[in-house]
């Protein structure tokens, strides 16, 4: 679930001068002298179905915005002669006309054409890969857990022309989401409390920024600032207790410090940090709901935008701000519920097993 990655492919999809579309975006014109990039058009939503662990039944469901329906429940298998996508699809990101599906327990990234969803290449022999982000059409990065022992994980640098790993960079423990913002790559080290900053020109580590415990997701905003959401630290003694609260950190590019705000309650771990199309409104899951906060807001919200349900995956359509939340019981088909930007429910549809994220294209 990385709408901000989908963003990287936007130049081809920009529609200039559409005042009507602009008005849909929830930006505040008075605080925003620079109107930023032109509006975005999306037609399809790829829903990443993680699948059941060890059963290799992960796949992508294709939702058509035009017909408001799922047009293909198992897009990869049906586009590739029935071949399974693999075991545990953790995430998917887009670069140009290609999709990069990180298949965690198959230790690979499957590269597909977004037009026909044919497998174009497989980046194999990764070590428990989690998320993918690209810096350019030539270079991508994948976070890899490597081990759950607490030891450091790594980021592999991928040559997107050859789909080979050219370098691995040691980062912190259990790296999760990563984001390229400007000329830097920000990697959340979920097993600890830091973000590793990597220079995308040299692929050298520039430094490590302390944030809250358990950073899990990261986005860049319209001003080039980096937002990191942390789950807080959970200790089982014997019942799970959040010993530190979740938090939201903001990093100013070039600095190796962050401004961190804690969530009010320690009863829940915030996750799934997502940003809207105009990159000025943040969304995340917390306390069984969806919360939203503007990038200019001084305090974290205390009331949710959406109250119902714990979502495994959260997405915001960059075109119109429609919110997508997924339910994943894992025993049966998962369900996606759509909401208006106001939080009012629209509809819901069934997808595959374990939906955990969305890609808008």
């Amino acid at each position: 679930m990385k709408p901000f990655s989908a963003f990287a492919s936007l130049p081809a999809r920009l529609l200039l001068g559409s005042a009507a579309t602009l008005s849909l975006l929830a930006c505040d014109p008075e605080n925003d002298p620079n109107p930023g990039p032109a509006p975005i058009i999306t037609n399809s939503v790829f829903v990443v179905n993680e699948g059941n662990f060890t059963r290799s039944n992960a796949d992508i469901s294709l939702f058509s915005k035009a017909s408001s329906s799922v047009t293909n429940l198992a897009l990869f298998a049906s586009s590739n002669k029935g071949a399974p996508l693999g075991d545990v699809a953790q995430s998917m990101a887009v670069r140009d006309s290609l999709g990069y599906i990180v298949v965690n327990n198959s230790n690979k990234v499957e590269v597909v054409s977004l037009a026909k969803f044919k497998s174009k290449a497989t980046i194999s022999n990764l070590k428990m890969p989690r998320y993918f982000a690209s810096a350019s059409s030539d270079k991508g990065y994948v976070t890899e857990t490597v081990t759950y022992s607490g030891a450091n994980g790594q980021v592999s640098v991928i040559d997107l022309k050859t789909n080979k790993v050219t370098k691995t960079i040691e980062v912190g423990s259990q790296p999760e989401q990563l984001a390229v913002v400007g000329s830097r790559l920000y990697v959340t080290n979920n097993g600890g409390n830091t973000v590793t900053v990597i220079n995308t020109s040299t692929d050298q580590v520039e430094g490590t920024i302390p944030v809250g415990d358990g950073p899990n997701s990261v986005v860049g905003d319209r001003n080039g600032r980096v937002w990191v959401l942390s789950s807080g630290k959970v200790v089982y003694n014997p019942n799970p207790t959040l010993v530190t609260k979740g938090s939201l950190s903001m990093i100013i590019p070039g600095q190796l410090t962050a401004t961190t705000r804690e969530t009010a309650s320690n009863q829940s771990s915030p996750g799934n940090l997502t940003i809207n199309g105009s990159r000025d409104q943040l969304y995340y899951t917390y306390l069984g709901g969806v919360y939203t906060v503007s990038i200019t807001e001084a305090t974290l919200p205390t009331t949710p935008l959406i109250r119902q349900g714990t979502f495994r995956g959260l997405g915001v359509d960059p075109q119109d701000g429609t919110i997508y939340g997924s339910r994943a019981p894992f025993t049966a088909a998962g369900k996606v519920i759509r909401y208006r930007p106001t939080g009012a429910p629209i509809d819901s549809f069934a997808v595959g097993i374990g939906p955990n994220g969305f890609v808008f294209y």
């Binding site: 290799s56 230790n107 428990m128």
Partner: protein, 659 residues
């Protein structure tokens, strides 16, 4: 009655009355055994020795379907596991994760936790998981397997919801006075399969001993096909080797005229690599399962009373290790005792009152540092009454006492009526209704995070009805056909569901399982040395969620995952002049892999065959050479989703038998 009166007037004639008691108490089994083993049985009955014959628990299970795999049926699988026998010989579905890998049973549309597996009367399901892995139960540890599908909580206790599998190693009626016997076997087969077995037994009229030691290993580096990038690619299975040892020792001593002491030990040790799913990360997972089971019992039988007391001590070790998560250890010790008293109220009525206590002590990494302990108790009353020679009734009650929330009183009522017994035909009608329960497992209560100490026990109510037709066309041709219809509702069905941070078990739903079971067996002994036995069975099993709590997002009215709607088995055994030829053909219908009933695994047909020859090589010495072929049609199939299974493969065994 005359004989009993004689005993009451003076204890001088115990031998006569005990023989008589045997005949009344176990009339049917004894008769059946005389049919198959007449010389020995006759010898036993003629000997001026005592016979301690208790009333078997099955006598109180009137109206239930019973499948028995005796030592003859088990003969070809001596070095195999229960998973091998049951999947080849019955229409039961075992969810199998690979050869030698986890095999879990689903009786009558329920889950593996809903089958009680008993060994010599004690539940041997792993207390942490609440189920048994049938690949960890070597056939050599048992002499008889009885399967009773359907709920029978009153008779067999916790977990007898979908059914009960009873293993016994106790001295059978035909054991006594056989002297020394022994067998040694070596197997060699595909994909590095090797197995060996040593068995020895001794019995006179006072003592019966049986020892068996078996070893089995395989590399399981079999080829299989995977679909990768639109291509069908041949791969070789990795990380699926195993080795397994089983040792069992049984002893029965007759003490005087009416008492006996029994003791049994069963040690199993399996070291398995865990076969990774097709196209999944091989984390070199490895599992060590060790079970140590000890039991001892005492029984005293008199004309009107029977006392029995048994105790058992089990230790189950399950240590799992993989590259990603490291080592996870678990060890559970179970101490159990059972005591019962049976009244033979009359020749046609008996009653048994008993109690059971279980103490669990668990050292499981997932439960935290301190050991967890739990006690469970139950008391039961079993009644059997035959108001007419052709009508048998049973009524059983059990009340369990569990930590936390209590299960209801679980009664079972059954009836069997021999409706027609004329000429060559016999037709029995049978019916049974039962309430059953399943206590939450230790994992369900104590695993952290997620374990839920407030779980309610699962409850079920089920009934079945059916008929048994026996056609004895000639003394040499016998056809037995059985048809059973069953229905059951399981309430408070527990399932692990994901929460924000971790999974938790919850009492989620009510499940309805119903179906039809048909089976037929033909035995033909036309004379000479030729014998033919052919068996066919079919099961239609429909099982679906009927209602659920708000937290349960699974849809209602769809066949539950991994329960085939159709399954069938057909087997033949032929013998002629020392030659034997056996075939088994099993069909497993499609099985959904998710509760929405969208994706499914296709059905498959498996053909196995064996051919063997027994040669007499000296006085008392025989040699059996047996070749077995599996999956002869080279099916590419999956029992559990995404786990490869081998194509055509075979084994050759050589067995030396003494006496």
């Amino acid at each position: 009655m005359v004989l009993q009166t004689r005993f009451l007037t003076g204890p001088a004639g115990p031998l006569v009355w005990l023989t008589a008691a045997l005949l009344t108490a176990t009339a049917q089994p004894a008769a059946a055994q005389m049919g198959t083993n007449s010389p020995d049985t006759a010898r036993v009955l003629q000997l001026p020795a005592v016979r301690v014959a208790g009333i078997r628990a099955t006598r109180f299970a009137v109206g239930s379907r019973q499948l028995t795999l005796d030592s003859l049926a088990l003969d070809k699988y001596r070095t195999g596991t229960l998973a091998d026998v049951l999947s080849a010989r019955t229409a039961l579905y075992l969810k199998n994760y690979g050869p030698g890998q986890l095999s879990s049973i689903a009786l009558r549309g329920t889950s593996a936790r809903h089958t009680a597996v008993l060994w010599n009367g004690f539940n041997i399901n792993l207390p942490s998981l609440g189920e048994a892995d049938f690949s960890l139960l070597p056939v050599s540890g048992t002499t008889q397997i009885e399967i009773q599908p359907g709920p029978a909580g009153a008779t067999y206790g916790n977990g007898a919801v979908g059914g009960t599998v009873r293993l016994s190693s106790a001295a059978a009626a035909d054991t006594w006075g056989r002297g020394w016997q022994g067998a040694a076997q070596a197997d060699y087969g595909s994909f590095g399969l090797g197995a060996s077995l040593l068995m020895a037994s001794f019995s006179n009229q006072v003592l019966a001993l049986r020892t068996s030691l078996s070893y089995r290993r395989a590399d399981n580096d079999f080829p299989y096909y995977a679909s990768e990038g639109g291509q069908r690619v041949s791969r070789r299975q990795e990380n699926a080797a195993f080795r397994q040892i089983s040792f069992s020792q049984d002893a029965t001593v007759r003490l005087g005229a009416a008492s006996e002491l029994t003791a049994a030990v069963w040690l199993t040790d399996a070291d398995r690599q865990i076969q990774p799913g097709i196209g999944t990360n091989n984390t070199h997972a490895q599992e060590r399962d060790q079970s140590r089971r000890l039991t001892a019992g005492y029984r005293h039988v008199s004309t009107r009373h029977e006392w029995a007391a048994r105790a058992a001590w089990f230790e189950d070790v399950l240590n799992y290790r993989d590259n990603l998560n490291g080592l996870s250890e678990s060890s559970v010790r179970t101490t159990q005792a059972q005591a019962e008293h049976t009244w033979r109220l009359a020749s046609n009525a008996s009653a048994r009152l008993g109690a059971e206590t279980q103490h669990f002590a668990a050292w499981v990494d997932g439960y935290g540092a301190a050991p967890r302990t739990e006690n469970r108790y139950s008391a039961f009353l079993l009644l059997r009454y035959d108001p007419r020679p052709r009508l048998q009734l049973s009524l059983n009650l059990r009340q369990a006492v569990l930590p936390g929330r209590q299960p209801p009183l679980t009664p079972t009522a059954g009836a069997e009526w021999l409706a027609l017994a004329g000429g060559s035909h016999a037709l029995s009608l049978k019916a049974n209704a039962s309430r059953s329960y399943r206590a939450p497992t230790l994992n369900e209560r104590y695993w952290r995070p997620g374990g839920n100490p407030n779980l309610l026990p699962e409850e079920s109510f089920g009934y079945e009805g059916g008929l048994v037709h026996t056609l004895t066309a000639t003394p040499r041709l016998r056809l037995k056909t059985e048809l059973t219809a069953h229905q059951q509702l399981v309430d408070n069905w527990v399932q692990w569901t994901p929460g924000e941070r971790y999974w938790s078990p919850r009492n989620l739903r009510q499940v309805q399982a119903r179906g039809l079971e048909a089976s037929t067996e033909l035995r033909w002994t036309p004379g000479g040395t030729y014998q033919l036995t052919a068996r066919g069975s079919y099961a239609l099993t429909q099982t679906e969620k009927t209602q659920g709590t708000a937290a349960d997002s699974d849809p209602v009215g769809r066949q539950l995952p991994f329960v085939p709607l159709h399954s069938a088995a057909f087997s033949t055994d032929q013998a002629w002049r020392g030659w034997q030829l056996g075939t088994t053909l099993t069909y497993t219908g499609y099985r959904y892999t998710d509760a929405s009933a969208t994706a499914f695994l296709p059905g498959y047909l498996l053909l196995n065959a064996s051919v063997g020859r027994t040669l007499a090589v000296g006085p008392g010495w025989r040699l059996l050479v047996l070749a077995q072929g599996y999956n002869l049609t080279n099916q590419d199939y999956q029992s559990y989703q995404n786990r490869a299974l081998p194509g055509r493969n075979g084994s050759l065994s050589l067995r030396v038998l003494w006496r």
